[in-house]
Symmetry: C2
Subunit: 219 residues, 2 copies
DNA sequence: ATTATTATTTAGACAAACTTAAATAATTTC
DNA sequence: GAAATTATTTAAGTTTGTCTAAATAATAAT
Protein backbone atom coordinates (compact mmCIF):
# COMPACT_ATOMS: atom_id res chain seq x y z
CA UNK A 1 0.00 0.00 0.00
CA UNK A 2 1.49 3.31 -1.01
CA UNK A 3 0.38 6.11 1.26
CA UNK A 4 0.74 9.83 0.78
CA UNK A 5 2.49 12.00 3.33
CA UNK A 6 -0.89 13.29 4.50
CA UNK A 7 -2.23 9.77 4.95
CA UNK A 8 0.82 8.75 6.96
CA UNK A 9 0.42 11.77 9.19
CA UNK A 10 -3.22 10.92 9.82
CA UNK A 11 -2.43 7.30 10.63
CA UNK A 12 0.30 8.32 13.04
CA UNK A 13 -1.93 10.88 14.74
CA UNK A 14 -4.72 8.35 15.15
CA UNK A 15 -2.24 5.93 16.68
CA UNK A 16 -1.03 8.59 19.06
CA UNK A 17 -4.51 9.63 20.16
CA UNK A 18 -5.90 6.14 20.36
CA UNK A 19 -3.94 5.12 23.47
CA UNK A 20 -5.33 1.69 24.17
CA UNK A 21 -8.79 1.22 22.78
CA UNK A 22 -11.00 4.25 22.73
CA UNK A 23 -12.04 5.65 19.36
CA UNK A 24 -10.54 8.92 18.24
CA UNK A 25 -12.96 11.77 17.65
CA UNK A 26 -13.06 13.91 14.56
CA UNK A 27 -12.40 17.09 16.50
CA UNK A 28 -9.47 15.67 18.43
CA UNK A 29 -7.82 14.56 15.24
CA UNK A 30 -8.45 17.90 13.56
CA UNK A 31 -6.86 19.66 16.51
CA UNK A 32 -3.88 17.33 16.59
CA UNK A 33 -3.21 17.77 12.87
CA UNK A 34 -4.00 21.48 12.84
CA UNK A 35 -6.66 21.03 10.25
CA UNK A 36 -10.46 21.31 10.14
CA UNK A 37 -13.00 18.68 11.18
CA UNK A 38 -14.43 18.63 7.67
CA UNK A 39 -11.03 17.60 6.32
CA UNK A 40 -10.81 14.82 8.84
CA UNK A 41 -14.17 13.42 7.78
CA UNK A 42 -13.01 13.42 4.16
CA UNK A 43 -9.80 11.65 5.00
CA UNK A 44 -11.56 9.16 7.27
CA UNK A 45 -13.59 7.99 4.29
CA UNK A 46 -10.45 7.46 2.24
CA UNK A 47 -8.59 5.61 4.98
CA UNK A 48 -11.61 3.40 5.58
CA UNK A 49 -11.69 2.64 1.87
CA UNK A 50 -8.05 1.55 2.15
CA UNK A 51 -8.94 -0.58 5.17
CA UNK A 52 -6.51 1.21 7.46
CA UNK A 53 -9.14 2.33 9.95
CA UNK A 54 -12.59 1.38 11.01
CA UNK A 55 -14.94 4.29 10.87
CA UNK A 56 -18.68 4.73 11.02
CA UNK A 57 -20.37 8.09 10.85
CA UNK A 58 -20.44 9.80 14.23
CA UNK A 59 -18.67 6.81 15.83
CA UNK A 60 -15.08 7.97 15.76
CA UNK A 61 -12.03 6.28 14.31
CA UNK A 62 -9.89 3.31 15.32
CA UNK A 63 -6.94 1.78 13.50
CA UNK A 64 -7.38 -1.58 11.82
CA UNK A 65 -4.61 -4.13 12.38
CA UNK A 66 -3.23 -3.05 9.01
CA UNK A 67 -3.39 0.60 10.04
CA UNK A 68 -1.68 -0.17 13.30
CA UNK A 69 1.16 -1.84 11.44
CA UNK A 70 1.54 1.20 9.23
CA UNK A 71 1.49 3.55 12.21
CA UNK A 72 4.24 1.60 13.93
CA UNK A 73 6.41 1.83 10.84
CA UNK A 74 6.01 5.59 10.68
CA UNK A 75 6.67 5.91 14.40
CA UNK A 76 9.77 3.76 14.01
CA UNK A 77 11.10 5.98 11.25
CA UNK A 78 10.29 9.12 13.21
CA UNK A 79 12.05 8.01 16.37
CA UNK A 80 15.10 6.60 14.62
CA UNK A 81 15.62 9.88 12.80
CA UNK A 82 15.29 11.71 16.10
CA UNK A 83 18.04 9.50 17.52
CA UNK A 84 20.19 10.21 14.51
CA UNK A 85 19.76 13.95 14.84
CA UNK A 86 20.57 13.96 18.54
CA UNK A 87 23.28 11.30 18.66
CA UNK A 88 25.09 12.00 15.41
CA UNK A 89 24.33 15.60 14.51
CA UNK A 90 24.25 16.99 18.06
CA UNK A 91 20.79 18.48 17.89
CA UNK A 92 19.09 19.00 21.19
CA UNK A 93 15.88 17.19 22.02
CA UNK A 94 13.61 20.15 21.45
CA UNK A 95 14.78 20.63 17.86
CA UNK A 96 14.32 17.18 16.42
CA UNK A 97 10.60 16.56 16.35
CA UNK A 98 9.90 18.94 13.50
CA UNK A 99 12.69 17.58 11.34
CA UNK A 100 11.76 13.97 12.04
CA UNK A 101 8.21 14.88 11.05
CA UNK A 102 9.53 15.23 7.49
CA UNK A 103 12.26 12.62 7.44
CA UNK A 104 9.79 9.95 8.59
CA UNK A 105 8.11 10.05 5.18
CA UNK A 106 11.07 8.72 3.23
CA UNK A 107 9.90 5.16 2.81
CA UNK A 108 12.62 2.58 2.47
CA UNK A 109 12.92 -0.55 4.56
CA UNK A 110 16.58 -0.79 3.73
CA UNK A 111 17.33 2.81 4.66
CA UNK A 112 15.64 2.44 8.01
CA UNK A 113 17.19 -0.89 8.89
CA UNK A 114 20.64 0.45 8.05
CA UNK A 115 20.00 3.64 9.96
CA UNK A 116 18.95 1.58 12.95
CA UNK A 117 22.12 -0.52 12.74
CA UNK A 118 24.23 2.61 12.36
CA UNK A 119 22.72 3.96 15.56
CA UNK A 120 23.26 0.70 17.43
CA UNK A 121 19.60 -0.34 17.24
CA UNK A 122 18.38 2.03 19.93
CA UNK A 123 15.18 1.11 21.77
CA UNK A 124 14.18 4.53 23.07
CA UNK A 125 14.22 7.90 21.36
CA UNK A 126 15.55 11.20 22.77
CA UNK A 127 12.23 11.84 24.53
CA UNK A 128 12.15 8.46 26.24
CA UNK A 129 9.63 6.93 23.84
CA UNK A 130 10.12 3.32 22.77
CA UNK A 131 11.17 2.58 19.18
CA UNK A 132 9.29 -0.23 17.42
CA UNK A 133 11.52 -2.81 15.77
CA UNK A 134 11.19 -3.84 12.12
CA UNK A 135 8.24 -6.04 13.08
CA UNK A 136 6.49 -3.30 14.98
CA UNK A 137 7.28 -4.73 18.39
CA UNK A 138 8.64 -2.52 21.07
CA UNK A 139 10.11 -3.29 24.45
CA UNK A 140 7.35 -2.58 26.90
CA UNK A 141 8.58 0.47 28.81
CA UNK A 142 9.18 -0.14 32.49
CA UNK A 143 6.28 1.05 34.62
CA UNK A 144 6.26 4.82 34.82
CA UNK A 145 3.90 7.54 36.00
CA UNK A 146 3.66 11.22 35.42
CA UNK A 147 5.43 13.27 38.06
CA UNK A 148 2.18 14.77 39.35
CA UNK A 149 0.94 11.39 40.55
CA UNK A 150 4.14 9.79 41.68
CA UNK A 151 4.01 8.59 45.27
CA UNK A 152 7.67 7.72 45.85
CA UNK A 153 9.92 10.56 46.98
CA UNK A 154 13.08 9.83 45.01
CA UNK A 155 12.53 9.48 41.28
CA UNK A 156 14.29 9.26 37.95
CA UNK A 157 13.03 10.95 34.76
CA UNK A 158 12.21 8.37 32.10
CA UNK A 159 10.37 10.31 29.41
CA UNK A 160 8.52 13.48 28.50
CA UNK A 161 5.04 13.11 27.11
CA UNK A 162 4.83 16.53 25.46
CA UNK A 163 7.26 17.17 22.61
CA UNK A 164 6.71 20.91 22.39
CA UNK A 165 9.93 22.86 22.31
CA UNK A 166 8.42 25.15 24.95
CA UNK A 167 8.36 22.40 27.56
CA UNK A 168 11.69 20.96 26.49
CA UNK A 169 13.38 24.35 26.61
CA UNK A 170 12.02 24.82 30.13
CA UNK A 171 13.44 21.47 31.19
CA UNK A 172 16.79 22.36 29.62
CA UNK A 173 16.85 25.55 31.67
CA UNK A 174 16.28 23.53 34.83
CA UNK A 175 18.85 20.88 33.87
CA UNK A 176 16.23 18.18 33.74
CA UNK A 177 16.79 15.49 31.15
CA UNK A 178 16.25 11.76 30.71
CA UNK A 179 17.87 9.94 33.60
CA UNK A 180 17.90 12.99 35.87
CA UNK A 181 17.31 12.02 39.48
CA UNK A 182 15.06 14.21 41.51
CA UNK A 183 13.40 14.37 44.86
CA UNK A 184 9.95 15.62 45.70
CA UNK A 185 10.19 18.19 48.47
CA UNK A 186 6.60 19.35 48.71
CA UNK A 187 3.25 19.14 47.07
CA UNK A 188 1.11 22.28 47.24
CA UNK A 189 -2.58 21.52 47.32
CA UNK A 190 -3.65 24.95 46.19
CA UNK A 191 -2.59 24.65 42.54
CA UNK A 192 -1.08 21.16 42.60
CA UNK A 193 2.34 22.61 41.99
CA UNK A 194 5.27 20.52 43.16
CA UNK A 195 8.57 21.50 44.67
CA UNK A 196 11.42 19.32 43.51
CA UNK A 197 15.14 19.20 43.93
CA UNK A 198 17.73 18.01 41.45
CA UNK A 199 21.14 17.17 42.88
CA UNK A 200 23.46 20.20 42.92
CA UNK A 201 20.62 22.49 41.89
CA UNK A 202 18.47 24.83 43.93
CA UNK A 203 14.98 23.48 44.64
CA UNK A 204 12.35 24.62 42.13
CA UNK A 205 8.60 24.68 42.01
CA UNK A 206 6.94 23.39 38.89
CA UNK A 207 3.35 23.73 37.81
CA UNK A 208 0.92 20.85 37.59
CA UNK A 209 0.98 21.35 33.82
CA UNK A 210 4.68 20.63 33.69
CA UNK A 211 4.50 17.80 36.21
CA UNK A 212 1.87 16.03 34.12
CA UNK A 213 4.29 15.85 31.22
CA UNK A 214 7.33 14.52 33.02
CA UNK A 215 7.32 10.74 33.27
CA UNK A 216 9.18 9.17 36.15
CA UNK A 217 9.73 5.93 37.97
CA UNK A 218 10.90 5.32 41.54
CA UNK A 219 14.64 5.20 41.96
CA UNK B 1 10.45 31.67 -0.77
CA UNK B 2 8.86 28.38 0.15
CA UNK B 3 8.88 25.90 -2.69
CA UNK B 4 6.96 22.66 -3.04
CA UNK B 5 8.68 19.37 -3.71
CA UNK B 6 7.52 19.52 -7.33
CA UNK B 7 8.91 23.02 -7.78
CA UNK B 8 12.25 21.99 -6.33
CA UNK B 9 12.44 19.04 -8.67
CA UNK B 10 11.74 21.27 -11.65
CA UNK B 11 14.38 23.79 -10.62
CA UNK B 12 16.96 21.08 -10.12
CA UNK B 13 16.14 19.48 -13.46
CA UNK B 14 16.42 22.82 -15.26
CA UNK B 15 19.78 23.35 -13.62
CA UNK B 16 20.94 19.93 -14.71
CA UNK B 17 19.81 20.36 -18.31
CA UNK B 18 20.98 23.92 -18.65
CA UNK B 19 24.72 23.09 -18.71
CA UNK B 20 26.22 26.48 -19.34
CA UNK B 21 23.88 28.82 -21.11
CA UNK B 22 21.48 27.24 -23.54
CA UNK B 23 17.79 27.39 -22.76
CA UNK B 24 16.05 24.19 -21.72
CA UNK B 25 13.23 23.02 -23.96
CA UNK B 26 9.79 22.02 -22.77
CA UNK B 27 10.13 18.52 -24.14
CA UNK B 28 13.55 17.89 -22.64
CA UNK B 29 12.30 18.90 -19.23
CA UNK B 30 9.19 16.76 -19.58
CA UNK B 31 11.34 13.79 -20.49
CA UNK B 32 13.76 14.39 -17.62
CA UNK B 33 10.96 14.67 -15.07
CA UNK B 34 8.90 11.85 -16.58
CA UNK B 35 5.94 14.12 -17.06
CA UNK B 36 4.10 15.64 -20.02
CA UNK B 37 5.00 18.80 -21.93
CA UNK B 38 1.68 20.37 -21.01
CA UNK B 39 2.56 20.03 -17.33
CA UNK B 40 5.91 21.67 -17.95
CA UNK B 41 4.30 24.66 -19.62
CA UNK B 42 1.98 25.05 -16.64
CA UNK B 43 4.83 24.89 -14.17
CA UNK B 44 6.97 27.25 -16.24
CA UNK B 45 4.33 29.92 -15.81
CA UNK B 46 4.34 29.45 -12.05
CA UNK B 47 8.11 29.49 -11.73
CA UNK B 48 8.28 32.59 -13.88
CA UNK B 49 5.73 34.24 -11.63
CA UNK B 50 8.01 33.42 -8.69
CA UNK B 51 10.96 34.89 -10.60
CA UNK B 52 12.95 31.67 -10.46
CA UNK B 53 13.24 31.29 -14.23
CA UNK B 54 13.02 33.40 -17.30
CA UNK B 55 10.56 32.03 -19.76
CA UNK B 56 8.86 33.32 -22.87
CA UNK B 57 6.45 31.25 -24.92
CA UNK B 58 8.28 28.96 -27.32
CA UNK B 59 11.64 30.32 -26.18
CA UNK B 60 12.61 27.71 -23.60
CA UNK B 61 13.57 28.13 -19.97
CA UNK B 62 16.64 29.43 -18.15
CA UNK B 63 17.21 29.85 -14.44
CA UNK B 64 17.26 33.35 -12.98
CA UNK B 65 20.06 34.11 -10.51
CA UNK B 66 17.53 33.40 -7.76
CA UNK B 67 16.59 30.09 -9.38
CA UNK B 68 20.21 29.15 -9.73
CA UNK B 69 20.75 29.76 -6.05
CA UNK B 70 17.81 27.54 -5.22
CA UNK B 71 19.03 24.81 -7.55
CA UNK B 72 22.44 24.79 -5.92
CA UNK B 73 20.86 24.37 -2.51
CA UNK B 74 18.84 21.39 -3.65
CA UNK B 75 21.88 19.89 -5.36
CA UNK B 76 23.88 20.40 -2.20
CA UNK B 77 21.30 18.59 -0.12
CA UNK B 78 21.04 15.78 -2.65
CA UNK B 79 24.75 15.15 -2.83
CA UNK B 80 25.37 15.38 0.90
CA UNK B 81 22.67 12.79 1.54
CA UNK B 82 24.27 10.57 -1.08
CA UNK B 83 27.55 10.86 0.80
CA UNK B 84 25.82 10.00 4.02
CA UNK B 85 24.19 6.93 2.57
CA UNK B 86 27.42 5.63 1.07
CA UNK B 87 29.90 6.64 3.76
CA UNK B 88 27.83 6.02 6.87
CA UNK B 89 25.16 3.53 5.90
CA UNK B 90 27.24 1.48 3.45
CA UNK B 91 24.93 1.84 0.49
CA UNK B 92 26.54 1.34 -2.89
CA UNK B 93 26.62 4.16 -5.41
CA UNK B 94 23.83 2.82 -7.58
CA UNK B 95 21.31 2.76 -4.72
CA UNK B 96 21.58 6.26 -3.38
CA UNK B 97 20.21 8.52 -6.07
CA UNK B 98 16.60 7.52 -5.55
CA UNK B 99 16.74 7.94 -1.80
CA UNK B 100 18.54 11.27 -2.04
CA UNK B 101 15.83 12.35 -4.45
CA UNK B 102 13.48 12.34 -1.46
CA UNK B 103 15.81 13.34 1.34
CA UNK B 104 16.86 16.46 -0.58
CA UNK B 105 13.44 17.99 0.06
CA UNK B 106 13.81 18.27 3.82
CA UNK B 107 14.60 21.94 4.03
CA UNK B 108 16.69 22.99 6.98
CA UNK B 109 19.88 25.00 6.78
CA UNK B 110 20.91 23.73 10.15
CA UNK B 111 20.32 20.09 9.31
CA UNK B 112 22.37 20.34 6.16
CA UNK B 113 25.24 22.25 7.68
CA UNK B 114 25.46 19.74 10.51
CA UNK B 115 25.23 16.84 8.14
CA UNK B 116 28.03 18.33 6.10
CA UNK B 117 30.18 18.74 9.20
CA UNK B 118 29.37 15.21 10.28
CA UNK B 119 30.59 13.92 6.93
CA UNK B 120 33.77 16.00 7.07
CA UNK B 121 32.52 18.60 4.60
CA UNK B 122 33.00 16.47 1.52
CA UNK B 123 33.48 18.26 -1.81
CA UNK B 124 32.50 15.47 -4.18
CA UNK B 125 29.65 12.99 -4.01
CA UNK B 126 29.80 9.23 -4.60
CA UNK B 127 29.45 9.75 -8.35
CA UNK B 128 32.29 12.24 -8.56
CA UNK B 129 30.04 15.30 -8.76
CA UNK B 130 31.07 18.43 -6.87
CA UNK B 131 29.08 19.47 -3.80
CA UNK B 132 28.17 23.17 -3.55
CA UNK B 133 29.03 24.77 -0.22
CA UNK B 134 26.52 26.70 1.87
CA UNK B 135 27.01 29.71 -0.43
CA UNK B 136 26.46 27.69 -3.56
CA UNK B 137 30.12 27.69 -4.55
CA UNK B 138 31.79 24.50 -5.61
CA UNK B 139 35.40 23.66 -6.22
CA UNK B 140 35.80 23.68 -9.96
CA UNK B 141 36.43 20.04 -10.85
CA UNK B 142 39.85 19.36 -12.36
CA UNK B 143 39.67 19.15 -16.13
CA UNK B 144 38.10 15.88 -17.21
CA UNK B 145 36.76 14.35 -20.40
CA UNK B 146 34.52 11.46 -21.16
CA UNK B 147 36.40 8.25 -21.82
CA UNK B 148 35.32 8.13 -25.46
CA UNK B 149 37.27 11.27 -26.27
CA UNK B 150 40.27 10.90 -24.04
CA UNK B 151 43.55 11.08 -25.91
CA UNK B 152 45.97 9.99 -23.17
CA UNK B 153 46.51 6.25 -22.78
CA UNK B 154 46.65 5.92 -19.01
CA UNK B 155 43.69 7.43 -17.21
CA UNK B 156 41.95 7.66 -13.86
CA UNK B 157 38.17 7.59 -13.42
CA UNK B 158 36.92 10.84 -11.87
CA UNK B 159 33.15 10.69 -12.23
CA UNK B 160 30.18 9.06 -13.94
CA UNK B 161 27.78 11.33 -15.77
CA UNK B 162 24.84 8.92 -15.81
CA UNK B 163 23.37 7.96 -12.43
CA UNK B 164 21.25 5.09 -13.68
CA UNK B 165 21.67 1.98 -11.60
CA UNK B 166 22.01 0.04 -14.86
CA UNK B 167 25.29 1.77 -15.73
CA UNK B 168 26.55 1.74 -12.16
CA UNK B 169 25.81 -1.95 -11.77
CA UNK B 170 27.74 -2.60 -14.98
CA UNK B 171 30.72 -0.68 -13.64
CA UNK B 172 30.53 -2.58 -10.36
CA UNK B 173 30.68 -5.82 -12.28
CA UNK B 174 33.81 -4.64 -14.03
CA UNK B 175 35.39 -3.32 -10.83
CA UNK B 176 35.40 0.22 -12.12
CA UNK B 177 34.89 2.91 -9.51
CA UNK B 178 36.02 6.44 -8.76
CA UNK B 179 39.80 6.52 -8.71
CA UNK B 180 40.17 3.35 -10.76
CA UNK B 181 43.17 3.52 -13.06
CA UNK B 182 42.79 2.16 -16.53
CA UNK B 183 44.61 1.95 -19.79
CA UNK B 184 43.21 2.25 -23.28
CA UNK B 185 44.28 -0.74 -25.35
CA UNK B 186 42.41 -0.13 -28.57
CA UNK B 187 39.78 1.96 -30.19
CA UNK B 188 37.56 0.21 -32.73
CA UNK B 189 36.39 2.54 -35.47
CA UNK B 190 33.47 0.37 -36.48
CA UNK B 191 31.23 1.05 -33.48
CA UNK B 192 33.51 3.36 -31.46
CA UNK B 193 33.86 0.70 -28.81
CA UNK B 194 36.98 0.87 -26.68
CA UNK B 195 39.11 -1.88 -25.24
CA UNK B 196 40.43 -1.02 -21.81
CA UNK B 197 42.41 -2.73 -19.11
CA UNK B 198 42.12 -2.27 -15.38
CA UNK B 199 45.06 -3.47 -13.33
CA UNK B 200 44.71 -7.12 -12.30
CA UNK B 201 41.65 -7.52 -14.50
CA UNK B 202 41.24 -9.04 -17.94
CA UNK B 203 40.92 -6.46 -20.71
CA UNK B 204 37.33 -5.62 -21.61
CA UNK B 205 35.61 -3.91 -24.47
CA UNK B 206 33.05 -1.27 -23.63
CA UNK B 207 30.52 0.35 -25.89
CA UNK B 208 30.62 3.98 -26.94
CA UNK B 209 27.48 4.46 -24.82
CA UNK B 210 29.30 3.41 -21.70
CA UNK B 211 32.48 5.29 -22.58
CA UNK B 212 30.54 8.52 -22.99
CA UNK B 213 29.39 8.28 -19.38
CA UNK B 214 32.71 7.59 -17.74
CA UNK B 215 34.65 10.75 -16.94
CA UNK B 216 38.42 10.51 -16.76
CA UNK B 217 41.56 12.55 -16.58
CA UNK B 218 45.11 11.64 -17.58
CA UNK B 219 47.10 9.91 -14.91
C1' DA C 1 7.09 28.64 -50.88
C1' DT C 2 4.03 25.29 -49.70
C1' DT C 3 3.56 21.22 -47.12
C1' DA C 4 4.59 18.04 -43.58
C1' DT C 5 6.46 17.22 -39.17
C1' DT C 6 7.58 18.32 -34.66
C1' DA C 7 7.34 21.26 -30.54
C1' DT C 8 4.73 23.91 -27.63
C1' DT C 9 0.75 25.89 -25.73
C1' DT C 10 -4.21 26.13 -24.54
C1' DA C 11 -8.54 24.21 -23.01
C1' DG C 12 -10.89 21.35 -20.17
C1' DA C 13 -10.90 17.74 -16.68
C1' DC C 14 -9.38 15.17 -12.56
C1' DA C 15 -7.55 13.68 -7.89
C1' DA C 16 -5.78 15.02 -3.45
C1' DA C 17 -6.10 17.71 0.37
C1' DC C 18 -7.62 21.54 1.93
C1' DT C 19 -11.35 25.47 3.25
C1' DT C 20 -15.97 27.82 4.74
C1' DA C 21 -20.81 27.68 5.39
C1' DA C 22 -24.85 25.15 6.07
C1' DA C 23 -27.24 21.02 7.57
C1' DT C 24 -27.82 17.35 10.66
C1' DA C 25 -26.85 14.31 14.58
C1' DA C 26 -25.53 13.66 19.38
C1' DT C 27 -25.13 15.31 23.86
C1' DT C 28 -26.03 18.45 27.72
C1' DT C 29 -28.68 21.32 30.37
C1' DC C 30 -32.60 22.80 32.68
C1' DG D 1 -38.10 15.58 27.51
C1' DA D 2 -37.75 19.91 25.00
C1' DA D 3 -34.25 23.36 24.19
C1' DA D 4 -29.62 24.66 23.80
C1' DT D 5 -25.07 23.47 22.84
C1' DT D 6 -21.53 20.93 20.74
C1' DA D 7 -19.78 17.58 17.38
C1' DT D 8 -19.87 15.83 12.96
C1' DT D 9 -21.00 15.56 8.30
C1' DT D 10 -22.29 17.38 3.74
C1' DA D 11 -22.05 20.63 0.03
C1' DA D 12 -19.62 23.59 -2.66
C1' DG D 13 -15.41 25.71 -3.86
C1' DT D 14 -9.95 26.39 -4.02
C1' DT D 15 -5.10 25.19 -5.01
C1' DT D 16 -1.53 22.26 -6.76
C1' DG D 17 0.07 19.31 -10.00
C1' DT D 18 -1.22 16.28 -13.06
C1' DC D 19 -3.44 14.47 -17.63
C1' DT D 20 -5.57 14.13 -22.69
C1' DA D 21 -7.02 16.20 -26.77
C1' DA D 22 -7.10 19.99 -29.71
C1' DA D 23 -5.08 24.22 -31.46
C1' DT D 24 -1.24 26.82 -32.84
C1' DA D 25 3.61 27.94 -33.66
C1' DA D 26 8.20 26.69 -35.26
C1' DT D 27 11.04 23.98 -38.04
C1' DA D 28 12.22 20.72 -41.70
C1' DA D 29 11.34 18.67 -46.13
C1' DT D 30 10.14 18.79 -50.80
MN1 LIG E 1 5.14 13.77 9.31
MN1 LIG F 1 10.31 11.61 20.09
MN1 LIG G 1 13.66 15.15 -5.55
MN1 LIG H 1 25.26 11.94 -7.24
Amino acid sequence: MNLSVAEENYIKAIYKLQEGEQAVTTNALAYELETKPASVTDMAKKLKEKKLISYEKYQGITLSPEGRKTALQVVRRHRLWECFLVDKLSFSWEEVHELAEELEHVRSEKLISRLSDFLGNPVIDPHGDPIPDANGRMTKPRPQTSLDQANAKRLVVTAVSDQSSALLAFLNAKSIKLGTQLEIIAHYEFDNSIEIKVKNQPAITISEQVAKNIMVRPL
